[in-house]
Symmetry: C2
Subunit: 144 residues, 2 copies
Amino acid sequence: MLSKKTKYGIKALTYICGHESDGPIPISKISEAENISHKFLETILLTLKKGGIVSSKKGKGGGYYLLKDPYEILMSDIIRLLSGPIAMVPCVSLNFYEKCDDCPDEETCGINRLMLEVRDSTLKVLREKSLAQLTKQSSRQNIT
Amino acid sequence: MLSKKTKYGIKALTYICGHESDGPIPISKISEAENISHKFLETILLTLKKGGIVSSKKGKGGGYYLLKDPYEILMSDIIRLLSGPIAMVPCVSLNFYEKCDDCPDEETCGINRLMLEVRDSTLKVLREKSLAQLTKQSSRQNIT
DNA sequence: GTAATACCCCATTAAGTCGATAGGGTTTAT
DNA sequence: ATAAACCCTATCGACTTAATGGGGTATTAC
């Protein structure tokens, strides 16, 4: 299940992406528009900043802005940063690998093999969608 | 993340599947072989029984056995039963659908669309793998 | 420079889930 | 009848999640 932290993070990024021309976006603006607790959003954006997805400007007129071309910000990166591993088992995780304590041999473990396939197919989807694409889709409601 | 409940459940089913010719398999046998708490395993097998995947025979010489052809027991069914929804968001779940409280329109929600794709690709993998296939893979270590 | 704005950090809490344990009850084959 | 095996309920500690609260520090506009 996608945590609210992750969901909020994606919504916040989508908002920032859709208002890039306005300059840095303050937390208060996002939290109002997307109905997210100001304080909670603060920690989320901090994580995204540490992860190199956004940066921020302090002081009056400050706020958050994207650090990269939104077409190069992949959903897999965002989700990994906010939710941790994408794999359903640590022993098939690319970025958070850990050996199973019980499983003696990953080569012959059926669960390992299955979850490897699941991870690959999930990752394929998440890597092929960028923040820019997601933002476009979401803002379509404002056109009609 | 796959819960231990689900992991244990799959392991138990794999064990039962691999020892079908022995007749009903008692909990104690599985819990010993797979290193699972007897009591915990009990609740798991009960769930699987309620879900129509296994049945049980009481009394001396009793135990659990598969209710269907293992080639027709799909991993998607097992996981759904033990872990709940496969989808990462309730609003794209096939069997556990729930509307998002915040999202006003699923049609234009970028997260919805993305998670729909993820669900489809995950489900494709899980539906194409049966318990029989998984069991074969796991038991290969006993051959060499 | 100073006040307002906005980011940064730490600690706490309520609620919920997870893995496991305990104890007792019922059914059934021998 | 008795032992083996299934069934049910309740509880527990540890952990995670979502959210609050309070108090800073940096920076910009005026």
